[in-house]
């Protein structure tokens, strides 16, 4: 893989020291993201860092992924949990999709699959955005060498998120209440980058209040890793997703 910056090497070393396992690099042309870090489990001797060959620097993405591993292992073993989405989460989305509009036969046919897709997307945001913001703060503070890459990555993510405001399949669109997490992330991105424009589309969509409220909750809880599960639960309660997942004890 391309040469990583010294600072990124240092972060990966920290992962190895904290978890007691080494990291193996694996090239993956099919990867949808630039890089992922899979924790060693079920007796595996090493973590796997998959990366997609690219001219773009991978350092920030690797640091970001490593942040999730480090935060998990900062907790005592008994306090480590896996986020387990409910297989029936799509069922919670269906009524939200159908509310206030008469759906034709094609939309009705597409409804269950679209609901499943939206549920997965919303759960992924719930799991990754509030903790991801903690990690972004950590990177910004401790690794200023990565700031430029971080800002570029945040801007790219913002563009991808804002495209979802107009995403639709037939008459089906992503329900507004489930957009709160990305609205909060836009508020956060404005603060992190001094841009000030990422939240404008969400304000126009009437989502900024929800985004700010989630950010308020995010700010009220201590930033330590031991509060990560509680942070996610708090957001879930606020956006009505408490029943959509469970926590199961982490098994190495």
């Amino acid at each position: 893989m391309q040469r990583l910056r010294a600072v990124t090497g240092g972060i990966l070393k920290r992962v190895e020291e904290q978890t007691g396992k080494s990291i193996q690099f694996m090239r993956d042309e099919q990867l949808s993201m630039l890089a992922t870090l899979q924790i060693a489990r079920n007796g595996a001797d090493f973590h796997v860092l998959r990366y997609r060959p690219s001219n773009e620097p991978l350092d920030y993405m690797i640091a970001f992924q490593a942040g999730f591993v480090l935060r998990l292992f900062e907790n005592e073993p008994s306090q480590r949990f896996d986020f387990a989405p409910s297989p029936t989460a799509g069922g919670y989305v269906e009524p939200l999709l159908a509310v206030g509009q008469a759906l034709g036969p094609a939309d009705k046919n597409a409804l269950p699959e679209f609901a499943k897709f939206v549920a997965q997307w919303a759960l992924m945001n719930l799991r990754s955005l509030p903790i991801g913001m903690r990690i972004d703060c950590w990177i910004a503070t401790e690794y200023p060498e990565l700031n430029e890459l971080q800002r570029a990555s945040i801007a790219l993510q913002q563009q991808q998120n804002v495209d979802l405001l107009s995403y639709k399949l037939g008459k089906l669109t992503i329900p507004t209440p489930l957009m709160g997490a990305i609205a909060a992330y836009a508020v956060f991105a404005d603060r992190m980058t001094d841009c000030g424009t990422f939240a404008i589309p969400y304000e126009a969509a009437g989502l900024q209040g929800q985004g700010r409220e989630l950010m308020r909750l995010w700010g009220e809880l201590p930033a330590d890793a031991e509060n990560d599960c509680q942070l996610i639960d708090t957001w879930a309660a606020k956006v009505g997703m408490s029943n959509w997942y469970t926590w199961i004890p982490y098994r190495p």
Binding site: G196, I200, A204
Partner: protein, 361 residues
């Protein structure tokens, strides 16, 4: 602050109307559209950016750019990269805020024309030439739009006005020349295409158009010049559509010449070439015959001069030296032997039939 252009769309049904003045909250009304545009423009301006906002009956589209950038330049780059549909709402937005901007009107007209919305195109382009009667490209755009609509009778006048507006503009001359060719006004077409070539000496369409006009006007000198131009097009732009048209024109012309030399009747030399070729094919077998025919066909891509009796061609698959007509005859025989329905691109059927008859006897 983000220095990259960003864009997003928002369905009108999702827009928070509480952000708008009370008298502008009826979705879809002009007051609503204006207020939405103003909302985004001021929001982004407050953060040191500019926003191009387009509101239609279903959604609002916003393109944000750094304050110091030129929005038109950015939108033109979208057009140049083929993102015409995407660029159109932003051009419309610019047209609304600056209705007398000729450059915006011209590009709107061309964009609509490319999308097949000719009425919309003509409205914008006519407004552009009303504001600037010397805008040759806008006049040409009107003519092209009429032509694409099938209204040839209306296309000529704007194209002539384009050439009058800027007699040095090769693009206008080329289009007018092509238009006149279509009307069979070859002498006039030729004059404009000669001017076009002066301005656009390296433009394949211009060279091809000029060649076609020369051929249409006729006369030995013109036809020779036409043939030279066709050859230039074939050599400089191999594989292009225009090269293929040039090749077809040359073949057709050569074929006509060949027949003229014998008063339109059978060419005994061709008949003999074909009969010899068929004998050779019998000896070497079908696989080798196919190789020979294909080698000649490949050579023919660069053009074979069938009116020159000199034996100036050689083959890897067959010993000896050959004239162009000889090679074409061998190729014809080879292809017909492989597949009687194949079109070898030149009509030697009569000679082929006579050769077959002669061999049977």
């Amino acid at each position: 602050m983000s220095s990259q252009p960003t864009s997003f769309k928002l369905p009108l049904s999702k827009f928070d109307i509480n952000l708008l003045p009370a008298d502008a909250r009826r979705i879809g009304s002009d007051a609503f559209k204006l207020a939405v545009s103003m909302h985004f423009a001021t929001q982004y301006a407050a953060k040191g950016q500019q926003a191009l906002v387009s509101v239609d009956d279903e959604e609002v589209q916003v393109l944000t750019l750094p304050a110091k950038s030129n929005p038109l330049e950015f939108v033109l780059s979208m057009l140049q990269s083929g993102r015409i549909k995407e660029a159109l709402p932003y051009l419309e937005s610019m047209g609304k805020s600056d209705p007398n901007n000729v450059q915006v009107l011209y590009n709107l007209g061309i964009a609509y024309s490319e999308l097949g919305q000719f009425d919309e195109a003509i409205i914008r382009l006519k407004r552009a030439v009303q504001l600037n009667p010397r805008h040759a490209h806008a006049w040409t755009g009107i003519g092209v739009a009429y032509q694409r609509m099938g209204k040839r009778e209306l296309a000529l006048e704007p194209m002539q006005k384009a050439a009058d507006a800027d007699p040095t503009d090769g693009y206008s001359r080329r289009n007018l020349g092509a238009m006149l060719m279509g009307l069979q006004r070859y002498d006039e077409a030729l004059a404009h295409l000669r001017e076009a070539r002066r301005a656009l000496p390296h433009d394949a369409q211009t060279l091809y158009g000029l060649a076609a006009a020369l051929e249409a006007v006729g006369g030995d000198i013109s036809v020779d010049e036409a043939d030279e131009l066709y050859q230039i097009v074939i050599q400089r732009w191999p594989g292009s559509d225009v090269a293929e048209r040039a090749r077809t024109a040359r073949t057709k012309h050569a074929h006509q010449n060949m027949r003229l030399r014998v008063g339109g009747g059978l060419r005994p030399d061709v008949m003999m070439y074909i009969a010899d070729a068929l004998d050779t094919f019998d000896k070497v077998g079908p696989a080798k015959a196919q190789q020979i025919a294909f080698e000649i066909a490949m050579k023919g891509q660069q053009g074979l001069d069938i009116n020159d009796p000199d034996q100036k061609y050689t083959l890897n698959t067959l010993p000896g030296k050959f004239s162009g007509l000889h090679l074409v005859s061998i190729m014809f025989a080879g292809m017909k032997a492989l597949d009687p329905n194949m079109d070898p691109g030149i009509d030697l059927k009569a000679e082929y039939g006579a050769a077959m008859e002669m061999r049977r006897k």
